[in-house]
Amino acid sequence: MRKMLLAALLGSFAFPGTGRAEPGDVVAMDHGAEIFRRIVVEADYAARDGGQWRWHVDGWIGGDSERVWIRSEGKIEDGRAEEAELQLLYGWNVHPFWDVLLGVRQDFEPRGETYLAAGVTGLAPYFFETDATAFLSTEGDLSLRLEQSLDIPVTQKLIAEPHVELNAFAQDVPERGIGAGFSGVAAGLQLRYEITRRFAPYADLVWERALGETASIARGRGEDVEVTTLRFGVRAMF
């Protein structure tokens, strides 16, 4: 169907079943664009560890039923990239509220690693924005990331957004200090003021905690298993 729509856009398409021009022929043309996008970029700063910058990108480019998704997140501490990842996925709309995604994830920091990525994204009942993605690394390690958030308008422009992220691993990944099972949770509350729909400064209070075996490993290394951070940043939609 998508190819046919593309052909229709090019003006060379008549409805199926008609081999030549007939009175009933209709050419789908001039009734609006087909390619749209929504890319949300957040960048924020927290005054800890010598200054911690973080970015988060999530968005799509495409039509109503098929879209290319781009996601990236990372952290810069004390002027040095600690974490950096990029995902490129292709998504198919399978339900009014849900897309199925398939693609790749590339980590650059803390170490280079490539993953196959597959997941779903959409809107769960009660307006929960939901992303669930499974990753299979080239080393054969399987992990799962679940993210949910909810926009609550306090006023028409002041939005409270509670959000949570949960990570789990199917096996130990010793080189990353991760044990099998739930490895970590992050929960927070973002308060943003939408000056326009496309630009909003925000404050985000985030609580992160390592879980299970992963937490034990961290304790053994003398690292914090729990941190709470107040971030200040801006969010832009392109």
């Binding site: 729509l5 003006g11 409805f15 009175p23 050419v27 789908a28 009942p125 009660y126 028409q156």
Partner: protein, 613 residues
Amino acid sequence: MMKTRIRIPLPTLASLALAGGLVAVPYAAFAGNYDLTVAKAKVEIDGRTVEKLTVNGSVPGPTLRLREGEKATITVANEADEPTSMHWHGILLPGIMDGAPGFNGFMGIAPGASYTYTFDIRQSGTYWYHSHTGTQDQSVLGAIVIEPAAPPPFPAERDYVVLLGDITPENSDHVLRNLKADPGYYNYNKRTLRDFFGDAREQGFGAALRDRLDWGEMRMDPTDLADVTGYAFLVNGKQPAENETFIFRKGERTRLRLINGSAMTLFDVRIPGLKMKVVAADGNDVEPVSVDEIRMGVAERYDVIVEPDGEGPYTIFAESIDRAGYARATLAANEGAEGPIPERRPRALLAMDDMGAAHGGHAGYDMDGAKDEHGGARDDHGGHEGHGHEGHGDVHQMDDRHDGHDGHDGHHMHEMQHDGAAHESPSAPARAVGWASGFPEGSKVLAYEDLRARAAPGDNRPPDRSIEMRLTGNMERYVWTLNDKRFGEAAPIRVRYGERVRIDFVNETMMAHPMHLHGMFFELENGAGAHRPLKDTVIVPPGKSVSVILTAREVGAWPLHCHLLYHMASGMMTAFVVEPPDAAEAGITPDGASLPLAISHDGHGGHAGHGGM
């Protein structure tokens, strides 16, 4: 055939046409010839000067004044840098002249090109024209007034065009991009945490929470009355401060040709202190009915006659249904007078039953469930003829299968004398609940059931078959569809020439859709028996059904679409194809247009006034 055509030099013609909205020209000069130029021009909106596509340099373009029985010749030149088109809304004509790109072989008007439309006028009344390309119709539009060949049944001393419009300083294509990125982009009336605590105080915490959870479960928003805001509302191109003024003398009958020429706005129109006598709907005469207020869908027209017994001034007040603003004009004895501006009404909140709550709480998203429901409902009105609903509000009682909501159920645009939530109290403006609410207590609001054709359409046969057209969509993605398919995804609806069909519009969404068919009128099944009114656009309220009948008398491929601009642009359109008669008579259609329509468009003789007119 007698034809009177007075040729007027163009400048004179243009000024006459421009003045058409201001002065009465009951039997003045008529010209079937017009030249229209589509080009970018500077337009001032809310104090900002922006470039918009215009017709002859203005929004709206000139009013076209035509006469029944003459031949119209209208040349449209495209001086813009993008393709354009011009569609003659509600006009009976050969398909190639309809002006919808991609239909009947018409491929639009390329930049630098021009296209000459010629057609015989076989009807009279109030119509309009607009671009049918992309999102241009937001500024490329104008009124059409066709004088009847015979003296009009409801004479009036004065006759004015009241063309309602909306225009945004934004680029109209960007509006669609914003909606696709975030369907709530323009909704600054969302229910907030503050509203929640307000409701909790009034209704109790449990009830308020239950209500939020009900909407949340469906992932829908009860404040979703309009998709786009930021519009300036216009009467004949003038914003409220510019106060378009129509002159009258006490005791005179004044005919106001109300046209909703907006892109996305449904209007509630009233003239405080005056009754409006509705005498025509969508260009066709109806039995007069006096009302206080009319809810007008995009592209609908109503001719009303007012007969003030005072000096005025009176305010013609057209509030957008989301209450974002209003258009106004003044009826006055002299220029410069201003009537009082009525107090603004609160915005209504949608009710659960506006959502087609019959669909098990899935509100049109659970398509399988919806089909089952309607399968049953459809059988009920198999052979009904008018299916007498005179007494109550709904066109389709059987589709309202949620009896528990009596408080605000079933009154699709009828008298609101019973709705406690709907009254206008200055001290405590209760929030109106339900799509068709928010009218003052005791006021007479025009209902579709009030419309009775003045002359019964000739064809009174029951329909040969019914076609179900579900109005569907996914608000989360800003996708609007018919039978779950976007334009181009579904095969056209095909009917035989002469076939009599019923179309059942079943709205499974939470928004009202003004559904428009090109090329033919349909008869609205509103309980008027043989006097079903002819319309070319009908509002299908949220969660409700409306059915129409038509006899396929016009051969061609006709767009059938929602007239909300961004609903059409995002897919809410299909082709309604009337197949040519069989081989025996092939070659000549009732219009006299020779086949195939895609190629030829000449040779149609002066065949006026057939087809239900």
